[in-house]
Amino acid sequence: MKMISRECALGAGRCALPCLVMYLLLSETGCTVHRTVVNERVLQLDPSSLRIGETTWIGALEELGPPISANTPQQLLRAQLNERSLKYVAAEGKTMGLMIPVMVGALPFRWSDVQNTYELLLEFDENKKLTGVYETRREAIWRPWAKEPERKPPVTRTILGGDRS
């Protein structure tokens, strides 16, 4: 019994140094998971009170607020608005980073996927009356773990009026 314990101890001692080196090496390896959510409150917009042919452009603005179709601050700096449509966007970005140490310095890897996860589009005719309300949902995936074929296809549906699905 005593001999077995001593052999175990000797074996552990032999692999202690390589294990230690490996551990120190791995401890320099870093993994970063970063999720960005833009305008999550757009998901709470309720267009059910809008009426096809009745609601005006300004009426829709008063009901739903100013549209923000940007998903980055840079896009925000060139605000877009027109009298034939209003578009509300919520976006999501998923970024995974991996830092692998090499002999000198480090080797960074980064996978990022940014999607407009929700889009609400209002269309108006030439008289500024509402003609259709559509919503589209997409999903952002964690690359590289999730592959492109695993991404669910975007789903667009007509909420009010319109002639497209």
Binding site: S5, R6, A9, L10, A12, G13, R14, A16, L17, L20, Y23, L24, L26, S27, T29, G30, C31, T32, V33, H34, R35, T36, V37, V38, N39, E40, R41, V42, I58, L61, E62, G65, P66, P67, I68, A70, N71, P73, L76, L77, R78, A79, L81, N82, E83, K94, G97, E139, W142
Partner: protein, 156 residues
């Protein structure tokens, strides 16, 4: 009868194993301590980004619909609009945008979890042909943004 267990032999065994790799016990102990304690040194990250005027909502509270002129509006907001949309009724829509982002993170050296919540807002001022603010519409996506660091949700 109390059973007495001697622990004297255990340190000796440990010492035996450490001597095999050719390092003194104290040095190995220090290395192990650093190796174990290093990853436990955690850090937190808090970053706040303001996009355009920080107090935009507060500035718009001074605007009086039906009274404030476009010149006064420009002074109150502190800048001309980002863009202007001219309508068919000789009216114009002044468009401002602003926002805020809050990033929180937990840094564990080997694993960093970070989440950013961003709210981008728009403010529209409908100016009539006499140059008076007729309507004011401001969104509040950037108000009361939460600080969150956990990047996963139930769908992940």
């Amino acid at each position: 009868m109390k059973k007495v267990i001697s622990l004297a032999r255990y340190p000796r065994r440990c010492g035996d194993s450490l001597r095999v790799i050719g390092l003194p016990n104290r040095a190995v102990g220090v290395i192990f301590l650093v190796a174990v304690a290093g990853p436990c040194l955690t850090g937190c990250t808090f970053i706040r980004h303001d996009i355009n005027a920080v107090d935009f909502h507060e500035r718009t509270t001074h605007v009086e619909v039906g009274k404030t002129t476009s010149d006064e509006l420009r002074t109150m907001i502190g800048s001309p609009p980002q863009s202007i949309l001219f309508t068919d009724d000789d009216e114009s829509v002044w468009i401002y945008s602003f926002g805020q982002a809050k990033t929180a993170g937990l840094t564990l050296i080997v694993f960093n979890a970070v989440k950013t919540n961003m709210g981008l807002d728009g403010a529209l001022f409908l100016i009539d042909k006499d140059g008076i603010v007729k309507r004011q519409i401001v969104s509040n996506n950037s108000q009361d943004l939460p600080w969150e660091w956990w990047p996963f949700d139930e769908d992940d």
